[in-house]
Symmetry: C2
Subunit: 195 residues, 2 copies
DNA sequence: CCGGCTTGCTGAGCAACGCTCAACAAGCTA
DNA sequence: TAGCTTGTTGAGCGTTGCTCAGCAAGCCGG
């Protein structure tokens, strides 16, 4: 149907890297609108204008492909959250929170899909998510200049769940100002990690 | 393989209600060990000793079946959490929290599967979960004798996410005593709803 | 221009799964 | 025994994840 699926030149050859990047990119575009498990290889191949077989040449299994797409999404978020080098520690967490809310505001359905796909579906996919969460906890605790014992790590992880849920709801129905939201989240984290 | 799949009597006939209950029961047993989307109709039918076709006679679609199973699981949890009639309001939330932790302690993987399946996979399935959460919020706010405006509802819902995450982690690696956990959760909820 | 090599790429096809449909048969009643 | 209701089945269709043998685009040495 699209020009891509019936190109003027009978066959277009790409380098392996280009093709991989294109396929992951298509996955990133499809992810927000399509529940992870409903995304078919056929659809991706059709959008890329290639055969199903080629997709399996680059990603041995559907799971591999989804994992790669999820990892790409996680990397984008991670880079967006990472504080600029030289930021004083006491501002790092506040800045990350602010950027996180901004991210959810900008791509609400994309973020929802990411969180859902990560928490719910495939164990391999959720592993990517857990890995990023673990890295974020490390980052947060070092920014707060607190030792990261097991207890505190648990509390910060649970606070992530709290934050994700609340920000997700708040974007849909703002029951307070943006600043109030940020202050509340910051405050809950402080109280949790203080003791 | 099993006796059920090749019974002595060539065919066993059940009432519609019995069969439905049996199929839902099988789903409940399978749910903890099997990711929702990996559970196949074939497997359920095989365990019940019936043909696939019969399952589709009772549940028009796979989604319908999963929804029914999830609803059954939600009902079990709901009944377990519900305070005994006559409980004074100030003890209701504490009691529910206590029973919730007990539930997760007793069926850790079952609860994990429920939360994951609910948050992640199918929208229809997660709807069952959201419905129960909404009912729980109502219950909690009335027990706390607080008006349930939109803001408070959001905060309690987010606190659920916090609680689920923390209790799930704590069961795997107890970093505090059970009483400390309960007190912490209770305290966070109080602070959140106070303002 | 040509033979040969690498490698991106395809089409046919298989197995598993969700789902349909026409028909069989168990158990009851007249 | 005939007949009705309804629980139950097997054959089969379309889709989807995945495999495999082989085609052909682009580059090379001659």
């Amino acid at each position: 149907m699209t020009a891509a699926s019936r190109p003027d030149h009978p066959r277009l050859r790409r380098t392996a890297g280009d093709r991989r990047a294109q396929l992951v990119q298509i996955g990133l575009e499809l992810l927000p609108t399509t529940p992870v498990q409903e995304l078919t290889i056929d659809e991706v191949a059709r959008r890329a204008g290639i055969s199903r077989s080629l997709l399996f040449h680059y990603f041995a299994t559907k799971r591999d492909y989804y994992t790669a797409v999820t990892r790409a999404a996680a990397d984008l978020l991670w880079e967006h959250l990472l504080p600029a080098p030289g930021t004083p520690p006491d501002q790092q967490v506040t800045g990350m929170l602010d950027r996180y809310v901004g991210w959810v505001e900008t791509f609400p359905e994309s973020h929802l899909a990411f969180v859902r796909g990560a928490g719910g579906g495939d164990p391999w996919v959720s592993e990517v998510y857990e890995e990023m969460r673990a890295r974020l906890v490390e980052l947060a605790l070092s920014a707060l200049e607190l030792p990261d014992d097991a207890r505190r790590r648990q509390l910060v992880l649970a606070w992530f769940a709290f934050t994700e849920d609340l920000v997700g709801q708040w974007v849909q129905e703002p029951t307070m100002t943006r600043d109030e939201l940020l202050e509340l989240l910051r405050d809950v984290l402080a109280r949790l990690t203080d003791r």
